[in-house]
């Protein structure tokens, strides 16, 4: 019991209760399954809040550690090793929050194979929380790969017309990315005689040239997941084909696995290599920001636009992470959360309108605000948050990131890049306004689009949001304002861990 009742173990594996319960619900009883899944995911969220309650932000060590030997034979030293700190706690909370929201969002959209769908979602939650909480590289790899499977099915079974293609592409790309990481993990495990991350960090002593190779190996896996420019090619496919909730989780959490990987593994494990790589990663991040923003603008499909905007936003995150100062890293971590909230909410909203209109082409939209005032208002708020309007969450992250990046440029972290990275990235702020406002304009402003008539033809009138849908987004709206206006509690959670992390770097 002691093993099970540990908070972190409970956070990760509590959804299993739901999985087991779902197995015994007859497949005709769809509502019971939905409620079960929702209840379990909400309970998981509550558990994560309990974890938050027990969390001591001022302590930079891992907390609520669960550590057991798992495989220790013949030179292997693999542990069941969980721990939480300021770098991961918000991401765990994000995961546990977004899961019930996603489940709620597909209440009516998914009518087929509800049981499997819910099971996959709960499994996905297990995988994601696992990634954020494990401190053993080997176990990390297992969870990392495990997250692929449910997502693969979610896209592949409940996705759009080209779902199988998208699912396979998603799977193969991310799996290809993790190959090198696996080798690097094995190398580390062999070299350091342990897979425990804190121990490996404490040992240090990896020669600089090898560090670089390992850094690249890890970065390959994470960069594809993020996805960093130019490895983003799988993202639009996956997003466009994924069902709404899939997109929400994909954008909201799965992409964060990549950025989280960088801050959790790459930076502390390979500090020298990190310093060398910083300008290059920052360069890619900057290109990603501009490129993603430019490409977003030219998309004919709403989901694709949002997908590419993720490339841009995560460019910011990468830039912030490799600014290697507290402002940048903390901003980047907060921006991960922000992106999860904003883009997650955007996908939710797109899904809501898609459920009614069955099209995502801008071409046919227009003037929706008149028919859907509440929806329009919510969409606007979320869009603004996504483009970083001060007072909303996106700004806090972007500002601190850019501020950090500018400082990093001045302090020589980016070498030849200097302040140009931050400066050019700031142009992304303008470009974000262009594509976000363009999207909003094309959907909600202007004369009424064909879609209204088209939808009528199919015997449905476009309606405004119903209560379930509003309830689905309201938590995210609250967070959008909360983080935008009063991010102090969030920063307080992140800051000590970030300061500690920065303190370990051999900065010039």
């Amino acid at each position: 019991m002691e093993f099970i009742l540990q908070p972190l173990t409970l956070v990760i594996f509590f959804p299993l209760v739901g999985v087991l319960a779902l197995l015994f619900i007859p497949s005709e009883n769809k509502n019971a399954m939905r409620w079960t899944a929702l209840a379990v995911s909400v309970a998981t969220f509550v558990i994560s809040l309990w974890v938050l309650g027990r969390f001591d932000a001022s302590n930079t060590d891992l907390q609520m550690v669960a550590r057991y030997n798992w495989i220790t034979v013949a030179g292997w030293n693999i542990q069941y090793f969980l721990g939480i700190d300021g770098l991961s706690i918000l991401l765990v909370l994000l995961t546990t929050l977004l899961t019930p929201i996603s489940i709620l969002s597909t209440w009516t959209a998914v009518e087929e194979r509800v049981k499997e769908y819910m099971i996959f979602f709960l499994l996905l939650e297990i995988g994601m929380n696992g990634v954020f909480l494990v401190q053993d590289l080997f176990l990390f790899y297992i969870f990392w790969e495990f997250t692929l499977v449910p997502m693969y099915f979610i896209i592949g079974i409940w996705g759009g017309p080209r779902r199988i293609y998208a699912a396979l592409k998603f799977f193969l790309y991310t799996m290809a990315g993790s190959i090198l990481m696996l080798l690097a993990i094995l190398w580390l495990g062999i070299h350091g005689k342990t897979f425990s991350l804190p121990d490996l960090i404490a040992q240090g002593g990896i020669p600089a040239n090898i560090q670089m190779w390992l850094f690249i190996a890890f970065a390959a896996a994470f960069a594809i997941k993020v996805p960093m420019w130019p490895l983003h090619s799988w993202l639009p496919d996956a997003h466009v084909e994924a069902p709404t909730a899939g997109s929400v989780i994909l954008a909201g959490v799965l992409l964060k696995l990549g950025t989280y990987g960088f801050v959790r593994f790459n930076i502390p494990l390979f500090p020298e290599a990190t310093l060398q790589a910083a300008p290059w990663i920052a360069l890619l991040g900057t290109i990603g920001i501009i490129y993603g923003a430019a490409v977003s603008y030219a998309q004919p499909d709403i989901k694709k636009l949002v997908a590419y905007s993720s490339v841009s936003h995560l460019g910011f995150v990468m830039l912030g992470l490799f600014a290697l100062n507290p402002e940048g890293i903390a901003g980047a971590i907060l921006q991960m959360i922000n992106h999860g909230i904003s883009t997650g909410a955007l996908f939710l909203l797109v899904g809501m309108v898609y459920e009614q209109t069955h099209t995502r082409e801008f071409r046919v939209y227009g003037g929706l605000w008149k028919i859907m005032p509440v929806f329009g208002a919510i969409y606007l708020i979320v869009s603004l948050s996504s483009m970083g309007l001060p007072g909303l969450n996106g700004f806090v992250g972007e500002f601190t990131i850019l501020l950090g990046a500018w400082g990093a440029g001045q302090n020589g972290i980016f070498y030849w890049g200097g302040v140009w990275f931050a400066g050019i990235s700031a142009i992304g702020v303008i470009m974000a306004a262009i594509y976000i406002l363009y999207m909003f304009q094309k959907m909600f402003m202007g004369p009424q689009g064909e879609v209204v008539e088209e939808t009528k033809k199919h015997g449905r009138a476009i309606r405004d949001l119903n209560w379930r849908e509003i309830v689905t987004v309201v938590p995210l709206l609250i967070l959008i304002f909360w983080i935008g206006l009063y991010p102090a509690p969030f920063f307080n959670l992140i800051a000590p861990a970030v300061n500690h992390l920065v303190g370990t770097l051999p900065l010039p």
Binding site: T400, L403, A422, Q448, N499
Partner: protein, 725 residues
């Protein structure tokens, strides 16, 4: 939780309520407004704004009790990370109090005005439900503006700065499905987007400035920054101030980012008055004034700011003279006047700049609102005319709008041949001055208040505009000759286009049925106009250039530091007054001596290309399209379609990576992945795969001898390696 050292903080604790009141107002209207009547909604919003005004007055009392000393009230922590430490702190000093009073005062008047205006506007445009939304946005604007002017750090200022930008977007795009003439169109929404994007370009500059500032000064808080000015290299400060200037050009519609403001007239008239004339657009001026210690330390930057302002002032004034839309004229006038203010603060004449800001808020709000009243009057007149037609033809009520269109098409005959404005002639344009004429008779109150605004703006003594403008010119004559002459010529043009407008709108004969049947506006509209007219006439008293009357100057001293209080310079004042009178005379000669007739070409057209330039805004929009917008769109599409999709996604990832994979595996992931392909694939590998499977599958040919051969091959290879290695 106050940080002020002074013992008597008085009403300082109310500072956050400047923001909270409007927010409460908008929340009430948002959540419960659907149950309210229009009056109730208007009352809630106006009360919210009024409460902010009351708070402003109380704060004024408090600050004046402390002799303008800055007081700060910390509400909450905001961002604390690394060395960055920012709080939600409200700063109340003489400068911000002045702004507060203007914003909340004018704002409240406009709220009240809008109750009447929007009541009619939403009916003309057939969407009664949108009434509530307008007041929500308006309250939001007040809140954002309050954040802007009370922020104690550049970043909090920035929050308001972008917040008002958002409100501008929302309000410009208020009739998002229409165009200026209420036809279904994308144009209003484009105007909204344009406003926001142009502002964002400026915000980019603002952001960069804050980055430089933070890493140079270690803080973004006003006092901490200003204290360290002497210790920081001037080059850095120049960079900061110039990047701020970019922000200023965006927000205060200066060259080169002014292009959004004329289009912003797509918003309802109260919006034009409040946001795009009186308050929001002056934020840039406020920013420069607020950063006075920075600007004052770098004259190079000051000169650039002054020149930007002066050039804008003249440039926009010329365009204003060539416009036919009553609001467009005012819009360009606003840009021009903002140029005056920016030039003033650029030259270090902060008091003059703020002074002009205040008086301009009065008279330009007045002018806009009056113009709104004119437009409503025209609409009403048109409405009556349409009704008359309708009754004559005896058509069903439902055909009304169609009928209007029809009429409009019939009116095409008297659209002018210059036809720069294509929209003209399609439908009735209530804002086109060529449709007006003789309105002084039908709308007397409006006429008189408009006159008040006109003389104030034209700089005729002793109206408010004269005093403030004169102070700017005086400063310019002492600091920057180039700016001085540019501004003086701009003043001339100002008087000219205002004269032109007055003659065209209110004098002569009605050139359109609607103008003939125009109707005076109700009290809820005219009363605020009268109050504003009084302020426009008397506002100059705030800071007369006579010893002992430098009230505003002394008041602001506490914030802006020692300011020189210049006495009246008769030469400067004389030149500008004479030029103004001359300009009005010329306009009279051109437009009133022989009243502007129905299908007449503008007399200015004799200027040829010059007039065309003025009329077409010097083709700046076209130039921007050519230089920035079209390239951006093209590049975006190029990157998205050619580079990202066709090359990177399709060619590289599909053909090269997947293709190689397919080639190696002799099967088609693509083919397979497509649902159709799956079937093809499943129906036995088909000839396609067979032909591709040139090697592998053919090698596995089913012949046992071949298999044996493979074994032998392995043997030979292995033995060969081992023997000959």
């Amino acid at each position: 939780m106050h940080l002020s050292e002074s013992v008597n903080t008085g009403f300082l604790f109310l500072a956050p309520w400047l923001v909270f009141f409007p927010v409460i107002g908008l929340l009430i209207n948002t959540l419960f407004g659907h149950k309210f009547s229009e009056r109730m909604i208007g009352a809630v919003a106006s009360l919210a704004s009024g409460a902010a005004f009351v708070v402003s007055v109380l704060l004024y009392v408090t600050v004046s009790g402390a002799h303008g000393e800055a007081m700060r009230w910390q509400l909450a922590e905001w961002m604390h990370i690394g060395t960055l430490s920012l709080d939600w702190t409200f700063r109340v000093d003489s400068l911000s109090t002045t702004m507060m009073l203007v914003v909340s005062g004018v704002g409240t008047l406009i709220h009240i005005y809008a109750i009447g205006y929007m009541h009619e506007d939403v009916r003309f445009k057939n969407d009664v439900g949108r009434f509530r939304r307008f007041f929500v946005f308006l309250n939001l604007f007040i809140a954002a503006m309050m954040v802007l002017i009370t922020g104690d750090s550049y970043l909090m200022l920035f929050v308001g700065w972008e917040g008002v930008g958002l409100c501008s977007f929302l309000l410009v795009g208020f009739w998002y499905e229409l165009d200026l003439l209420a036809r279904p169109s994308w144009s209003n929404s484009f105007a909204a987007v344009k406003a926001f994007v142009a502002n964002r370009v400026g915000d980019f500059g603002f952001l960069i400035a804050t980055f430089i500032m933070f890493w140079a000064f270690g803080s973004l808080q006003f006092d901490k920054v200003f204290q360290q000015v002497p210790t920081v290299a001037p080059g850095v400060i120049i960079a900061i101030t110039l990047f701020f200037l970019l922000g200023v050009t965006g927000k205060s519609a200066q060259v080169p980012l002014y292009v959004w403001l004329p289009d912003a007239m797509a918003g309802p008239t109260p919006v034009s008055a409040l946001i795009h004339a009186a308050t929001m657009v002056t934020a840039g001026v406020y920013l420069v004034a607020r950063s006075a210690p920075l600007y004052s330390s770098v004259p190079e930057a000051q000169n650039i700011v002054a020149l930007v302002g002066a050039v804008t002032a003249l440039f926009a004034a010329t365009i204003a003279a060539g416009q036919f839309d009553i609001k467009k004229v005012l819009a360009y006038s606003t840009i021009s006047q903002l140029g005056f203010m920016v030039a003033a603060v650029g030259m270090g004449a902060y008091v003059a700049g703020i002074f002009h800001l205040v008086t301009h808020a009065f008279f330009k709000a007045l002018l806009f609102l009056s113009a709104g009243s004119v437009i409503l009057g025209m609409e009403r007149g048109h409405h009556h005319a349409a009704h008359a037609n309708h009754d004559n033809h005896g058509k069903g009520k439902k055909g009304k709008r169609k009928e209007e269109r029809h009429d409009a098409r019939a009116e095409r005959s008297h659209s002018d041949s210059e036809g720069a404005d294509e929209a003209h002639g399609e439908v009735f344009d209530p804002g086109d001055m060529r449709n007006m004429g003789g309105l002084r008779k039908t709308m007397p109150v409006t006429f008189w208040v408009y006159m008040a605004g006109m003389v104030a703006l034209s700089g005729i003594p002793p109206f408010s505009g004269f005093w403030s403008k004169d102070e700017i010119l005086l400063d310019a004559s002492m600091h920057n000759q180039a700016a001085y002459w540019l501004l003086t010529i701009a003043a001339f043009f100002t008087a000219f286009y205002m004269g032109r407008q007055i003659w065209m709108v209110f004098f002569g004969e009605a050139r359109h049925e609607a103008a003939a049947r125009a109707e005076e506006s109700p009290k809820v509209i005219t009363v605020p106009l009268i109050i504003l007219a009084a302020l426009a006439v008397l506002g100059g008293a705030l800071n007369l250039p006579f010893e002992g009357f430098h009230n505003l100057g002394h008041w602001l001293e506490a914030t802006l530091g020692e300011v020189e209080s210049l006495p009246l310079n008769l030469q400067v004042a004389g030149i500008s007054t004479l030029l103004a009178l001359l300009a009005i005379l010329i306009s009279w000669l051109m437009y009133a001596r022989k009243p502007f007739a129905k299908d007449q070409t503008d007399p200015l057209a004799s200027l040829g290309l010059f007039f065309k330039g003025m009329n077409n805004k010097w083709w700046m929009d076209e130039l921007y399209h050519l230089l920035f917008i079209n390239p951006y769109i093209k590049i975006s599409y190029f990157i998205a379609e050619v580079i990202d999709w066709r090359f990177w996604h399709d060619w590289f990832h599909e053909k090269v990576i997947m293709g190689t994979y397919n080639w190696i595996s002799f099967t088609g992931l693509n083919e397979y992945a497509d649902q159709k392909g799956i079937d093809a694939f499943a129906n036995g590998l088909g000839t396609w795969t067979q032909s591709l499977a040139g090697t592998l599958r053919k090698v596995q040919n089913g012949f046992v001898r071949s298999y044996a051969l493979s074994i032998l091959l392995g043997v030979v290879l292995i033995l060969g390696y081992l023997i000959f290695k």
